[in-house]
Amino acid sequence: MMAQTISADQADTTILAHVNVPPAQTWNYLRINDLSLEVPTPYFAGDVHARLPRLFERVECGIGADAVTWMCRAAGDARYVEVRADDERAEPLYVDVDASSAEVRDTGVLVRAGARATIVTCAHGGGGDTSASLLRVIAERDARVTIVEIVACEGTQQHLDAVGISAAEGARVEMRQYALGGSKVALGLCCDLAGASSRLELDARYLVGGTDVLDVNHVVRQRGRATRADIVTTGILADAARKTMRETIDLVHGAKHAEGSEIETVLVTGDDVVNKTLPVILCDEEDVAGSHGASIGAISPEQLAFLGARGLDESAAERLFARALFDDAAIHAPVDEARAAVLARAATVLGADVARDVGEVLGFDQRGA
């Protein structure tokens, strides 16, 4: 199935005014409650479009209803994959978004009870105005889902990436999210831990430099009893980058014994960085635990002393952190195309020599990146 392509000369523009709205808002003057994006008005050429089953309409995506509607219309087409009960899908399901062609993807994955699947989304390239990926996943009872979301856009690319997950009883979702590039990137994620003992482990990483903007909204609804959510976010902000991170753990009434934690570590290396974080824990149940921690600024003195004892001064240590982010993304990208996109972005950010070294040290020169 081909995604709908929108070219700039065809496009009138539309303003998406309420992107990445967190469940609980704060003072408007902080300018953290939402994001506005100017996007091309979807253009249709009269195709007959495939739509996802209605079931997916109920999956919340974090990026907001207006943006989801826009992505569905702009994609024009949708890809639906069902993993049969107790099946282990060996090959990762790969969603490729060629940003240079302004591609927009709409994907729905139903992972039946007891099944296992890995889903990889990767947006790459640049110069295509606005690209997007919408991924909605329904994980049935005891399903195991691994999601790797990579945004490695170049130049002036604007990109929207939304993931919505609904997890039934005993379902486990492991997710790695990498924001590596794009001049204006909006990431929305909502995971509904609806079933008892369902679990989300989210490891989110980002590197934002230049005057690029990264806007993130992570929402976890913990509805089931004894659900567990662990969100670990690590990022680097360089130059005059602007980042907004909203993280909400919503411990809904009835979610007894649920536990949710969110930790963010931000390394700020630029003098003109704007870093905004809105961590929220909503609690409507007594017997639950929610925690939040944040560390924002420079490398800790202990780490700096340790890295110094291995020959790295502060600027070399900062370069190591940047390289490590790409290393980590390449290590966890289980698809050659996604790995190649990570290395291509590494070449832009770190230089071609370092990017080649990243690939070679990790052995991707032999396996083919």
Binding site: R205, V232, T234, T265, P301, E302, Q303, L304, A305, F306, L307, G308, A309, R310, G311, L312, D313, A316, R319, L320, F321, R323, A324, L325, D327, D328, I331, D357, V358, E360, V361, L362, G363, D365
Partner: protein, 257 residues
Amino acid sequence: MSHQLLTISGLSAGTEDKPILHGIDLTIGAGETHVLMGPNGAGKSTLGHVIMGDPAYHVTDGTIALAGEDITDKGPDKRSLAGIFLSYQAPVEVPGVPLYSFLRTICQMRPELKTTARTFRRRVGEIAERLDIDQGFLTRELNVGFSGGERKKIEMLQLLLLRPRLAILDETDSGLDVDALSVVSRGIETYRAECDGALLMITHNTRILERLTVDRTHVMVHGRMVADGPAELIDDIDAHGFSHFEDALAQKAEAQQ
């Protein structure tokens, strides 16, 4: 006699508000193995960190020279690149940095260790195998979630990879089970055999010294060097502890008053 590699003269140092080391003199020749012993709180680890240039400590008097070059005012990165290695008693966690990235970066900083990615991978693989380190560790974040034994093995991996001229091992044996202790001992032996570097072992445990040929033993009490002697001094300490050194220091202090 081997030429002097590390020369410490009249070194006094401490944290911002507390002096810890007082007039330390210590000389280590190239390729020699020295042992630094002393009761808890004597300042042994502080000395290791001061030699490494840890910015948490300030030198108030004296000098540190490596191969004749005064490094007292140099930062830890410069000392590391000059050939000093400190194995941490409690290696620091560095979230977000895979071990592979870290190892590659610290090797590429050193002109003598710069190599192709393929050679690097082979070298790391060989050392990891020798130290019973699962290759899966190489893609994990540095020291994050590692057990005490695993962290010490990773320290040994760095030691063998960097091949320093002087290795300071700060209670590398502490908290290790028998198997891990054996692996770490093997790492130290390999370092001595293959790198011909000098070694300053800071330890309480004489067991880790059994397979090493010790050239000199030093005893530190209350931030002062109170004795040094041949390897046999270790047996003496093993049998009688540090109390007589502490008593002697106390008497000396009283006499001076």
